[in-house]
């Protein structure tokens, strides 16, 4: 098998940032990867991709987890004429042991291109480039090793979360456990697409939202607290004395609700917690002195998505505060109620965020049995087009 010439790609092997081209070449003993290099070089020359849709592929009994991929140059690059993606459900918080990693490498080395994404944008381990015939063997070896596939298509997508309590002092609930629990609880919804469209869940331990849940998940659980921010006055003074931080300008001055008052003389910081919107800024700026309150839980938001079809949406508040305790029954009930309504009345390829806007948030709440709360909106309606219900 002749080494492919890839002059354009080769230019991407230089420079300080680790090179994906070098990565591809590391696996170049695989004939699939040889053809991939060839096809990719061709794309770089022609400024156009060479992949196309194709028949759905997958593993027995699952509707999701594999993305079928075919090329439009099967003659030139036969080894990538089938080049499917296998999505493997990552462990909570993307924690691994070296053994676990090696196990995955062994399986993927035997049956595929040897190329991966660690990780996909949704959070899965992505095996990049498998032939149809290899899918079942990959699956059975994965399950033997204790791994399972992730989601794709109109199903519950692989939930993901931040490191949370495993590696962060600000976690207001156990993101790792919640994500594991919910993923196990909804295996059927994950593997067998039955929704109008995809449904993503992301769990962030605090309002810093290190998994971008507010932008990228149909259901976002963002840790927060109800009581007062914990202040360590001694540590506050330490920050003041150390002097690197301008507490008035950069902490109090940047509080979105201006609810912090800084007494420079006394070197004391006071917070009007009633007006604190739990943005995290002051805590971020003074991690040794401030921390979230003790009465912790999460704000539940719904409906984030990318632009297709009606335009991108950020998630919006559905439950201002919920305690997050295993087995998370209230969240599971909420999910079931939402899924039932959406599955019955949602249009094909209508994300739940678009669905809510179409039927109206007020009606949506009524249907799933939640009370309207002013926390759900930035302001009450301004237009007088009210559907008074006199019946």
């Amino acid at each position: 098998m002749t080494e492919r010439k890839t002059p354009l790609l080769d230019e991407l092997e230089t420079g300080p940032w680790p090179s994906f081209v070098r990565e591809i070449k590391k696996s170049a003993k695989s004939p699939m990867v040889q053809d991939l290099l060839g096809q990719l070089e061709r794309s770089y020359q022609e400024k156009i991709g060479h992949w196309k849709h194709g028949g759905l592929v997958g593993v027995k009994g699952y509707g999701g987890g594999v993305i079928g991929r075919y090329n439009d140059l099967p003659q030139e690059f036969p080894e990538v004429s089938e080049f499917h993606t296998v999505r493997v459900n990552q462990p909570s918080g993307w924690f691994y042991t070296s053994d676990a990693l090696r196990t995955l490498c062994d399986i993927w080395g035997r049956h595929g291109s040897g190329l991966t994404n660690m990780h996909g944008s949704t959070g899965d381990i992505v095996f990049l480039g498998a032939k149809t015939a290899e899918l079942e063997p990959i699956f059975s070896e994965l399950t033997q090793a204790g791994f399972d596939l992730g989601g794709s298509g109109s199903d519950m997508r692989t939930p993901s979360c931040c490191a949370g309590p495993a590696r962060c002092e600000w976690a207001c609930y156990d993101t790792m456990n919640f994500t594991y629990d919910i993923t196990q609880a909804f295996q059927d919804e994950l593997h067998r697409p039955a929704f109008p469209y995809k449904f993503k869940i992301k769990a962030a331990g605090c309002p810093n939202d290190c998994v971008a849940s507010v932008a990228r998940s149909d259901l976002a659980l963002i840790g927060t607290w109800r009581d007062a921010i914990q202040i360590d006055p001694a540590a506050v003074r330490a920050y003041a004395q150390d002097g690197k931080l301008d507490i008035q300008r950069d902490v109090a001055g940047r509080c979105p609700t201006q609810c912090i008052s800084w007494d420079a003389k006394a070197q004391a910081l006071a917070i009007d917690d009633e007006n604190c919107v739990k943005c995290m800024h002051c805590i971020n700026a003074m991690p040794k002195a401030l921390s979230p309150g003790k009465d912790r839980g999460a704000t539940v938001l719904v409906g984030a998505k990318a632009p297709i079809v009606e335009g991108a949406l950020l998630a919006s508040v559905l439950v201002p505060f919920v305690k997050m305790e295993a087995p998370y029954d209230d969240i599971k009930e909420l999910l079931n109620a939402m899924w039932e309504l959406w599955s019955e009345h949602g249009k094909n390829r209508e994300r739940i965020g678009e669905f809510i806007q179409r039927i109206g948030l007020g009606n949506f709440l009524e249907q799933i049995g939640l009370d309207p709360a002013p926390e759900m909106v930035t302001q009450p309606r301004t237009n007088p087009y009210i559907y008074y219900d006199l019946n």
């Binding site: 400024k47 932008a215 335009g311």
Partner: protein, 364 residues
């Protein structure tokens, strides 16, 4: 070859994360007190117990060979009992209990070509997508643009020298798998021509009603083209989103001459200070110029440089622009403001300036 399984297992879900946590995390799980960021790429988390967990964060290209994963595994064995993790932005993190091993580990990773950094007020890995490596929908390559950008932005990965975090994201089509829509700097590949319709194959490959329904602007109508059931596109109504192609392979968007890249700024995700924001259009179009996309790299560097000079501590790019106002942003960056910058989709009117609050430009 692995022995065939006796019984086919399904629905087992992911492995329990607990198996993968190092002892120091198990012991201090949920009991962390505070953290420090002593140097770029190194974090120290201090527990109530006093225990100190060291994290060393290294860059990855995300697209990795299993050879590299085996290398990471070996390094983890050598330095930290085999414990590692990946981040939500595709960096790798090694988790150490022993401070003494931090410097050697940093050196080793650098030597292997996986430099350490990405923490604090700087630039970390670029969330991105498949591009020409694997997706049919791509208007540009993902990995190539990202590599070119990170080579240029690299100093900000190794140094924490910006007013705040700058989150850069890339997506290769409007599906936005990189969820670029809330990034400080979003690099978005775009098509600019209506779909080319293959009427031959369409009836066979596509469901006409769902294809018509797929169009956000209603530009698609059912039609019979030389006898065949097909569709037609009202070209003036097409804004090139490619959603029709997603549901109907016989409507191709890719176009070597006209595809290219748009740049968006001022989005954010965190709730810190300002609420989360979408990114806004800065540059409507730059050409696809592989292998290194110089126009795109220069444009992004310019944005970062102007922000670095003018932003204040803790001020994300979008917060900075809100403070100085968009007219000033366009002036400082030298980017022309065009009709493309004015929204004309569903809620366009919500972005019009509906007051006399105008920063006026003194005469001359």
């Amino acid at each position: 070859m692995a022995a065939e399984p006796t019984k086919r297992k399904t629905d087992i879900g992911p492995p329990n994360y607990e198996k993968f946590l190092p002892p120091i995390i198990k012991e201090n799980y949920g009991k962390w007190k505070y953290h420090e960021n002593p140097r770029p790429g190194v974090l120290v988390h201090v527990a109530e117990s006093g225990a100190r967990l060291y994290t060393v964060r290294a860059a990855t290209p995300r697209l990795m060979s299993i050879e590299t994963l085996r290398l990471f595994a070996a390094i983890a064995d050598e330095f930290c009992g085999g414990y590692l993790r990946f981040t939500s932005r595709n960096n790798v993190e090694f988790l150490l209990a022993d401070e003494g091993r931090v410097d050697p580990l940093v050196a080793r990773l650098r030597k292997e070509g996986y430099p350490v950094g990405g923490t604090g007020p700087g630039i970390t890995n670029i969330v991105h997508t498949q591009g020409w490596v694997h997706c049919h929908s791509a208007a540009s390559d993902a990995s190539g643009v990202v590599k070119s950008l990170m080579d240029a932005l690299f100093p900000h990965f190794e140094r924490m020298d910006l007013p705040a975090k700058v989150r850069v994201a890339f997506a290769c089509c409007l599906n936005m798998c990189g969820a670029v829509h809330c990034s400080d700097i979003a690099v978005l590949a775009v098509h600019r021509k209506p779909p080319k319709i293959n009427h031959e194959r369409l009836a066979k490959t596509c469901e006409i009603p769902s294809t018509v329904a797929a169009c956000p602007t209603g530009a698609i109508r059912p039609a019979t083209v030389d006898g065949k059931q097909s569709i037609q596109v009202i070209e003036e109504q097409c804004m090139f989103c490619g959603n029709c192609f997603t549901v109907c392979p016989s409507m191709t968007m890719a176009d070597p001459e006209n595809d290219g890249i748009s740049i968006w700024v001022g989005g954010k995700v965190s709730n810190a200070r300002h609420e989360p924001m979408f990114s806004k259009l800065a540059i409507p179009y730059l050409p696809n110029n592989p292998p290194r996309w110089p126009e795109v790299v220069d444009a992004v560097k310019n944005l970062v440089d102007v922000y670095a000079r003018n932003g204040r501590p803790f001020e994300r790019m979008g917060e900075w622009i809100e403070r100085i106002g968009w007219p000033k942003f366009f002036k400082l960056t030298g980017i022309p403001f065009t009709k493309y910058h004015i929204d004309d989709f569903r809620h366009a009117g919500e972005s019009f300036r509906r007051s006399a609050h105008v920063r006026q430009t003194p005469e001359g």
